[in-house]
Amino acid sequence: MAEDAILGFLEKNEKIADSGKFASNIGIDHNEIVNVIKSLHGFRLVDAEDIKREKWVLTDEGKSYTVAGSPEVQLFLAVPPEGISREELQKKVDPSVYKIGCSQAIKNKWLEMGKAQVSRKVQQVEDQVKDLLLRIQDGEVHAVDQGDIDALKKRKLIALQTWKSYSLTKGPNYAPKRKKVATDLTREHLQRGDWKDLEFKEYNFSAKGQPAEGGHLHPLLKVRKQLQMIFLQMGFEEMPTNNFVESSFWNFDALFQPQQHPARDSHDTFFLQVPSTTKKLPEDYVERVKRVHESGGYGSRGYGYDWKREEANKNLLRTHTTAVSSRMLYLLAQKPFAPKKYFSIDRVFRNEAVDRTHLAEFHQIEGLVCDRGLTLGDLIGVLHDFFSRLGMSKLRFKPAYNPYTEPSMEIFSYHEGFKKWVEIGNSGMFRPEMLLPMGLPEDVRVIAWGLSLERPTMILYGIDNIRDLFGHKVDLSLIKRNPICRLGVD
């Protein structure tokens, strides 16, 4: 109705100068008119310009005086012509009326307020305040002069209210009757068959669509999946790594890592209070490990120290997945030899201070090949194969030290973005002092490499604080936003 009124009026007239007046002329609430204007403006049927408007309205106090009269008049009327005592007068009127009425009546010189007695100074008064208020209430502000307005305002009987109205002209899409525009195609449209006549409201393509409600996988585990695929494509078999608690024996001793090695310090390794020690180890193998540490054998001089079983029995949280590799190689050695290619990607633990790039736990990627007559050339070849599948084809190798590999090589890759060589992992051939006590044939060699899962993921997704990637402080929005992992795809 309001819409018809506006569009109809504009059909015959150039302009609606003031929507407020227009509303009161046609007897429709202005708020309703404003809603219609906003909608018509949105579809550009009308152009609307804001008019800021002000209006004097009565305060609650002002409103009450339009009924009861101003307090000064109330007070004046309460004073009989013969006068009255203050106490009596106070009893006759409301305390606020008494208070305000007194000051105004005195100001108007209507009453004589003696110490005990109150008496009239004039015989009759006009309630001008009430008249003014009524006039303002009726919208006849123009009939009230500025001095009165200021006085009423000062007495807080009226207040200025600002409100918005609009001046309206025809918009570019003006039509005397609005064509119904649709925002969506509905089942009803199809059932009625009126979809052919539909005009669609213009869609805002500069805004994004609604947020999706689907689930999301964690970026680190997406990368893990792709790495698993790469290993499988290269013919590697996954090792079972679901054992966080490990003995020092499998984590260190079996790897020919001496018991005084700094990595075995409590500064680097989480040792356990419960369960504190391992109860079962393969005794004959333990004996061979002890001997190779103490006095060597298999062509080695050994480390020449007193190997202590108690050290080997100490439980810890595995510091590397190579602990699992040593178990797997030991099992392999107990059967007729068959070559194997193993991999794992799982959690390891280091008792280190946490910072932007270090956590107390992270994921280690490990690959190893166990076969007769493997060479350093095989290791370099398999590393090139593996890393080029990750998009790193420019590699070089730096000699390094690792207690259980010899030779040991740090793997560097040239980062095209950083324009420099960055370390991406470690590799080497397991020492005979590790393999031969297990019982592997003498010509069997094992080449292996390892790296963290977090580092390539951080580079891949442009994350520079590891705590933004992994752990409970990660922003869920980041998990939801991250793209698919295409490692090993292109």
């Binding site: 689907g214 964690h218 585990l221 996954e238 608690v245 989480f270 356990l272 409970h472």
Partner: protein
């Protein structure tokens, strides 16, 4: 694969043994053919006419046997019986002989040069002193049909004509003439047709009309005459009525015209080897000389054996077992002798004319393996990868849960002692948790026994994230286990949480049902151990009255419920949450 229909009783009589159907199927399986269908003549007719009648007792049972597409010698009862009798070791390999006939008394087929315009090749042979009966006769006709259907490619490559030799007179001529010059009475007709009219006539013949296209548009038609200008046949369409064979026929003249000489020879060899068994002199075939106009001539059939030298190591190396090769090959109609040319490590295999399928040593090797029995060969396993079931299932479940609208989080395995126990309103009974002896900070005092603290911490740190929050984690916890060498083991858990304006309890309940559904476990009444059921629980970390245990095949594997508001306050979470955690290691087995 071609199918050969043979009467069961006749087959068993010829094999000299009454097999049960299972026994016969077993024999077929080992030999590499298959009993496709068991039916009766009348049943076939009924099926064709779409009739439904009761089976009669006395109907002859027919075996439909599927044979390999390259074994033309198995397309008739005679060949099947011969191959199987030799395979089961009751017959020797037959030796086929081309009768020694002086050139001048040999039957001759003269080929006119015009034949090269339409169908250039012809090969012929004679079966002398054959004895037909109805069964043999039908088999003889059926074999021609099957050869026509298979190797002859519906007569385009080769067409067979068989004639009663005593009704015609050599020498014969193979000519190509304009259709209007050819006149004869075709088989099954009484009046004489001119060849072009005959073609018109056969356009309405259901069986023959599909062969007309082979010569129809040619200006000359191939035709075979005897010396009296009697038409033997108009290949590849029809024979003349005059020379038609019957049950009484004693001497059969066989001619095969062709566009492919090699296949023509195979077809002729198959016909004569299969049916020379019924000749007076068993396995003897009389040759025919085919003489070309340029004076060149060839004598057919060529029943010479093809010799193939095969290293024993190739055979045993390919099969992967050391076998008695010679005797095994004999079962497959292949004669084998030790080679003299090499140091005794090779065999010379004589491939008879019936075995045109043998092209290479690999065919010989296959026959050795068949004769030995595929299912007796010791198995060796090539290197292969075995996935870890736990990780595979975990990944599949992760995908399913993400598909249910949950977002994956990855939290730390280490946490503080408080977070694992008192903050969850749980008491430590000292029987579960792995405790670290030298933690650098209180964040790393213990290995989590539940995924709950990590998940709740994640919600606490994501207060500003739009609600609802739906997150999950699949990961390992560790628990003490005396049975393990190190005294502890990992356990794979799954946890999911809903946090929003309301608790989302029903959503979490629904997720539990969904997990069970994708694992393939039915929802069962309480107390039934064949599936899963949900039972009210009383765990301190959940709200009383809105929590339940998940019982899977009788075992309590997890709990879900509205998180106890006291716990929420401790983890600084202002909104209600529902949470489920279960051990997924027991979900499959």
């Amino acid at each position: 694969m071609p199918t050969v229909s043979v009467g069961r009783d006749r087959l068993f009589a010829a094999l000299g043994k009454n097999y049960t159907q299972e026994e016969f199927e077993e024999l077929c399986f080992d030999f590499g053919i298959e009993l496709d269908d068991v039916t009766t003549e009348k049943a076939i007719i009924r099926k064709e006419k779409h009739l439904e009648e009761e089976t009669e007792e006395d109907e002859e049972v027919i075996y439909k046997i599927e044979v390999p597409a390259n074994r033309y010698d198995l397309l008739c009862l005679e060949g099947l019986v011969q191959a199987l009798r030799i395979f089961i070791g009751i017959d020797e390999i037959p030796k086929y002989t081309v009768s020694n006939i002086p050139s001048e008394s040999m039957l001759k087929m003269h080929v006119k040069p015009e034949t090269s315009l339409i169908r250039p090749f012809i090969v012929c042979a004679v079966l002398r002193g054959i004895t037909f009966d109805e069964v043999r006769y039908n088999s003889f006709i059926d074999l021609q049909d099957r050869l026509h259907q298979n190797i002859c490619r519906r007569r385009t490559l080769v067409a067979i004509g068989t004639h009663d030799l005593d009704t015609i007179q050599a020498p014969f001529t193979y000519e190509a003439l304009p259709p209007y010059e050819i006149n004869f009475v075709p088989l099954k007709q009484v009046k004489s047709f001119r060849a072009d009219q005959l073609m018109e006539f056969y356009k309405s013949d259901l069986k023959l009309k599909k062969f007309l296209h082979i010569i129809e548009s040619s200006p000359v038609f191939p035709v075979i005459y005897d010396c009296n200008r009697t038409v033997l046949s108009l290949p590849p369409i029809i024979n003349g009525a005059h020379s038609a064979i019957s049950l009484k026929t004693k001497n059969v003249f066989i001619e095969c015209t062709a566009t492919d000489l090699t296949k023509a020879k195979i077809v002729l060899n198959t016909m004569v080897t299969m049916f020379s068994v019924y000749c007076e002199r068993k396995f003897h075939v009389e040759p025919v000389e085919v003489v070309y106009s340029d004076g060149k001539s060839s004598v057919y059939p060529d029943l010479s054996v093809f010799s193939l030298e095969v290293p024993l190591s190739y055979i045993t190396g390919s099969i992967g077992a050391s076998l008695e090769v010679s005797s095994l090959l004999n079962k497959m109609q292949l004669r084998a002798e030790k080679s003299v040319s090499r140091d005794g490590n090779s065999i010379v295999v004589s491939v008879p004319p019936t075995r045109s399928d043998v092209l290479h040593a690999c065919d010989v090797m296959e026959d050795v393996a068949i004769a030995y029995g595929f299912n007796k060969i010791p198995k060796t396993k090539p290197a292969s990868l075995k996935p870890i079931a736990l990780n595979q299932i975990s990944d599949l479940l992760r995908l399913e849960i993400a598909m249910n609208g949950f977002t994956e989080v990855l939290t730390w395995i280490l946490c503080s002692y408080k977070e694992n126990f008192s903050m969850l309103n749980r008491k430590d009974d000292k029987s579960t948790a792995v405790i670290i002896g030298n933690p650098r900070s209180s964040d790393f005092e213990i290995v989590r026994t539940s995924l709950m603290p990590g998940i709740l911490k994640t919600v606490g740190h994501n207060k500003d994230h739009p609600k609802p929050i739906k997150i999950f984690e699949v990961g390992d916890v560790a628990v003490l286990d005396e049975a393990k060498d190190v005294g502890a083991k990992n356990q794979r858990h799954l946890a999911a949480l809903y946090c929003g304006a309301n608790s989302g309890f029903e959503l979490i309940h629904c997720l539990v049902d969904r997990i069970m559904e994708v694992v393939g476990t039915p929802f069962v009444p309480i107390g039934d151990n064949s599936g899963y059921y949900i039972k009210r629980s009383d765990e301190p970390e959940f709200l009383l009255g809105r929590q339940a245990n998940i019982i899977f095949r009788g075992n309590h594997i997890g709990t879900f419920g509205i998180v106890n508001p006291e716990v929420l306050i401790i983890f600084d979470i202002p909104d209600p949450c529902s949470f489920v955690e279960l051990n997924i290691e027991s979900l499959w087995s």
